[in-house]
C-alpha cells in the first residue's frame, strides 16, 4: 500500500518533469535529463518504469512473447518469402510467439494484462504505457544498431521521458487515401470525397474504427477550416473537438463499414464493398497481391501517421531475448524487410541500401524531412494541450474514446 502511494508520487514528479521538458524547449529538457541521471544514481524514482536493464545481454531464455502490429513480426505464414522471425529463432534460440493487434487501445490493454516481453507501440500508446508503469526504460547501449537510427526519430516526445529512452524507433508512415482505380475517377488527392456530404462515393467509404481517427477529421479541418485554429490534431480544445465530431457525424452516412481489423479492410476493397477511404500501405499491398485494382496516396491536406517504437515490458520474463529482438528488428536488413512488407519508411539509415527495390527509401521518403512536415504522428491527447497552448483545456483521450463510441452507437 505504502509503496504504491510512493510510486504515484514518483509518477506525478516525472510527469511534471516531462511537461517542463515539453514546454521549456532545449534548455530545460537538458536540465530535466540531468535530474533523471541524478535519479538513476540515487533512486529510480524520477522516471516511471524503474531502471533499465543493465546488461550485458546474455544467452536467450529460449522464448520471446511479441505483441506487434500486423506485418511487423512475419514468420512466413502470410507469404513464404516474408520471414524474419524464423532466422531470428535460428540465430538466437528464442522461440517467438507473436500476437498482433488492430488498434493502439488493444495494444495497451494487452500489455496491461501482462505476459508480453516486447511490443511495437505507436505514439498514441507509448506514453500511456510509460505512465501506466507497464514498460521499462531501454538501455540503448545494449542495442548496437541504435546508432544508425535516423536522428529525427530518436528521443522524441513519445519515445522518451525526461531524457530517458523508452524504446527503439522502428519505422514511420502516413495514413493514406486508398481507392479503387476503376470506380474512383479522377484519382483523389484530397480527403474531401471521404468527408463531404455530396461525395459521389456515398455508401462506399471506409474509415478507421478507433477514437484516434478523430485526429484525421481534425487534419482535414486544419486545411478546410483554418478559422478553427487547429495547430496539432491531437491538441483540440472543446470547440475544435466538437467541429471534428460534427465532421465525423456528417461522414457517417457515407460509410459502408468502419475497419479495425486490416484483413476486413483488404476484403472490403477486394469485393468492392468499399471504394475509397483511410488505409495503410500494407492493406494496399495485400489487396493488390490478390488482384484488386487499388492505389493509395497521401492527401494534400496532410495526414495522420505513425512512428512506432519497440518497447520492453516492465515485467519481461525473457529480457535477454527481448534485447536480442530489439537489435534484430532494427538491423539494416531486417528493418528493410519489414519496411518493404509493411510499406513504411525504415528507421535505420543503413536499411536503404538493403531494400530489394533500390528506390524504396525515396518512394517512402525515409530521409526526406520535408515530407514528414504535414504528417502528424499518433499521439495521446491530454487535458494539457500538447501544442503548448495555455489558458485553455484540451479534450483528453478518455473523452475521445467516449465520443467515438457514442458516434459509432448513434
Amino acid at each position: 500500500m505504502h509503496t504504491k502511494r510512493l510510486l504515484k508520487v514518483a509518477d506525478v514528479a516525472s510527469a511534471v518533469a516531462m511537461l517542463a521538458a515539453a514546454c521549456g524547449g532545449s534548455s530545460s529538457s537538458s536540465s530535466a535529463s540531468g535530474g533523471a541521471n541524478g535519479g538513476a544514481a540515487g533512486s529510480a524514482a524520477a522516471v516511471p518504469g524503474g531502471a533499465a536493464f543493465a546488461g550485458p545481454v546474455g544467452d536467450g531464455e529460449g522464448q520471446l512473447n511479441v505483441l506487434a502490429w500486423p506485418g511487423y513480426a512475419e514468420n512466413g505464414s502470410s507469404d513464404p518469402n516474408v520471414d524474419w522471425v524464423t532466422p531470428f529463432e535460428k540465430a538466437t534460440g528464442c522461440k517467438v510467439n507473436v500476437k498482433s493487434f488492430g488498434t493502439s487501445d488493444e495494444a495497451v490493454k494487452l500489455m496491461q494484462g501482462g505476459g508480453w516481453d516486447v511490443v511495437s507501440a505507436s505514439g498514441d500508446a507509448t506514453l500511456r504505457l510509460i505512465y501506466g508503469d507497464t514498460v521499462q526504460p531501454v538501455n540503448t547501449d545494449l542495442v548496437p544498431n541504435y546508432k544508425d537510427i535516423f536522428p529525427d526519430l530518436k528521443m522524441q516526445k513519445f519515445n522518451s521521458v525526461a531524457g530517458v529512452p523508452f524504446g527503439i524507433p522502428h519505422g514511420r508512415g502516413a495514413n493514406l487515401i486508398m481507392y479503387n482505380t476503376k470506380d474512383v475517377t479522377p484519382a483523389p488527392d484530397s480527403w474531401a470525397p471521404t468527408f463531404e456530404a455530396d461525395s459521389p462515393y456515398k455508401g462506399y467509404v471506409t474509415a478507421y474504427d478507433s477514437p484516434i481517427f478523430i485526429a484525421d477529421a481534425a487534419v482535414y479541418l486544419m486545411a478546410t477550416k483554418p478559422e478553427l485554429g487547429i495547430k496539432d490534431p491531437y491538441a483540440l480544445d472543446q470547440k475544435q473537438f466538437d467541429a471534428a465530431m460534427a465532421l465525423l457525424q456528417q461522414q457517417k452516412p457515407l460509410i459502408s463499414e468502419y475497419w479495425s481489423d486490416y484483413t476486413k479492410a483488404v476484403d472490403a476493397f477486394k469485393s468492392g464493398t468499399t471504394k475509397i477511404g483511410t488505409s495503410w500501405q500494407v492493406i494496399n499491398n495485400l489487396a493488390k497481391a490478390d488482384g484488386a485494382t487499388v492505389e493509395a496516396v497521401k492527401a494534400k491536406e496532410g495526414a495522420t501517421g505513425w512512428s512506432d517504437t519497440w518497447m520492453v515490458a516492465k515485467d519481461a520474463k525473457n529480457i535477454n531475448c527481448a534485447y536480442k529482438w530489439l537489435d534484430w528488428i532494427v538491423s539494416p536488413k531486417v528493418n528493410a524487410q519489414v519496411a518493404e512488407w509493411f510499406g513504411e519508411a525504415p528507421s535505420n539509415s543503413k536499411s536503404c541500401a538493403e531494400t530489394s527495390d533500390k528506390s524504396f527509401c525515396d518512394t517512402y521518403h525515409a530521409a526526406d524531412t520535408a515530407y514528414w512536415k504535414d504528417v502528424y504522428y499518433w499521439n495521446t491527447p491530454t487535458a494539457k494541450c500538447l501544442d503548448g497552448r495555455t489558458g485553455v483545456q484540451c479534450v483528453p483521450y478518455s473523452e475521445w474514446a467516449t465520443a467515438w463510441s457514442a458516434l459509432r452507437s448513434s
Binding site: L127, I255, D267, S271, Y397, S398, A406, L407, R408, S409
Partner: protein
C-alpha cells in the same frame, strides 16, 4: 454426504467463477479510470451509469439490440415451428435421427466461418443474395441490421428447433385423437392442444435465441456495416474505460434477468 461432496465442486465453480465474475463486473461499473493511462481508479462513482442513460446514442443502441434479439427470436420461431412439426409428427419415425443430425450439422462448423460465409453471401453487389435478387429488380439487404438478423437467425435456429421438436415428440397421440373425435378442426386442435402443450418448449428455445443474440457483437462487426449492438459498445470501450464498459455490460444482464422473471411468472419453466 457423498452427494454433498460430489456437488461441492460444481457449486464452487458456479458461485466463485460464475457469480463471482458477475459481481466483479457489477462492482467495476462503479469505478472510474485515470484519464491518461486508462488504468482503473477504485473510487465510487455513478457517472458511468449516468453517461449510459443520459446519452441518447446508447439508449438507441439498447433499443436496437433489443429489436434485433426479438426479431431473431420471432423469425427463428416462425421457421422452427413447421420444421419441428414435420420432423416430429409428419415424417417417418425412422427418418427422425437423420433429420436431427442435419439440423445439428451447422453447429459443427466454426462460428466465424459461418459468419464470414454470410458476409460473402450478403455482399451488396457481388454476393449470392444480391445476384439472386437482381433479375427481380431487387437489391440485397447488404450489410446492416437486416444482415445481422439474417445471420443470427441462421446461427441460432437449431437452438429453437430442438426444444420444439422435443416438445412435439412428447405430445401424446391420444390427445390429438380425442380432439378430432370431439369434432375439432385441425386449426382448433393446433390452437387448443398443440400450442399450450409446446409453449414451454417455445419459451426454452426463445431463451437461447434471445440471450445469444443480445450478447453478440462479432456478427454485428462482420456483417453489420455501420450498425452497432450493445456488445460492440462494450468491445470498443473496455480498453479505454473498463468501468464504463462494465456499466454497459450490465444492461443485457438485467434484460435477460427480467425476461427470465417474466418467463417464470408464466410458469413455463416448471413445465420444462
Amino acid at each position: 454426504m457423498r452427494i454433498a461432496g460430489l456437488l461441492a465442486a460444481p457449486m464452487a465453480w458456479l458461485v466463485v467463477v460464475y457469480l463471482g465474475a458477475l459481481l466483479a463486473l457489477f462492482i467495476t461499473a462503479f469505478w472510474t479510470v485515470d484519464d491518461f493511462t486508462g488504468q482503473l481508479v477504485r473510487t465510487f462513482t455513478l457517472k458511468n451509469f449516468q453517461e449510459v442513460f443520459s446519452n441518447p446514442a446508447y439508449l438507441t443502441t439498447v433499443l436496437r439490440t433489443l429489436g434485433i434479439a426479438l426479431s431473431v427470436t420471432v423469425v427463428c420461431l416462425v421457421l422452427a415451428l413447421p420444421l419441428a412439426m414435420f420432423m416430429a409428427r409428419i415424417a417417418k419415425p425412422s427418418w427422425r435421427p437423420l433429420m436431427v443430425a442435419l439440423v445439428l450439422t451447422p453447429l459443427w462448423a466454426s462460428y466465424l466461418v459461418k459468419v464470414y460465409a454470410w458476409r460473402a453471401m450478403l455482399q451488396p453487389e457481388s454476393g449470392v443474395i444480391a445476384w439472386f435478387l437482381k433479375p427481380l429488380g431487387l437489391s440485397g439487404p447488404g450489410y446492416g441490421t437486416v444482415g445481422i438478423i439474417i445471420t443470427l437467425t441462421y446461427l441460432w435456429l437449431p437452438y429453437m428447433i430442438l426444444p420444439i421438436y422435443a416438445g412435439l415428440t412428447r405430445l401424446p397421440n391420444s390427445m390429438l385423437d380425442a380432439s378430432a373425435d370431439l369434432g375439432a378442426s385441425g386449426g382448433r386442435t393446433f390452437r387448443s392442444i398443440v400450442v399450450p402443450m409446446i409453449f414451454p418448449s417455445v419459451v426454452a428455445g426463445s431463451i437461447f435465441t434471445f440471450s445469444l443474440s443480445l450478447g453478440d457483437y462479432i456478427t454485428a462487426q462482420i456483417v453489420g456495416g455501420t450498425t452497432t449492438m450493445l456488445g460492440n459498445v462494450v468491445q470498443t470501450t473496455y480498453v479505454t474505460n473498463l468501468p464504463f464498459a462494465a456499466a454497459v455490460a450490465t444492461i443485457p444482464v438485467v434484460i435477460v434477468l427480467l425476461y427470465l422473471t417474466a418467463v417464470r411468472r408464466s410458469g413455463a419453466l416448471e413445465n420444462l
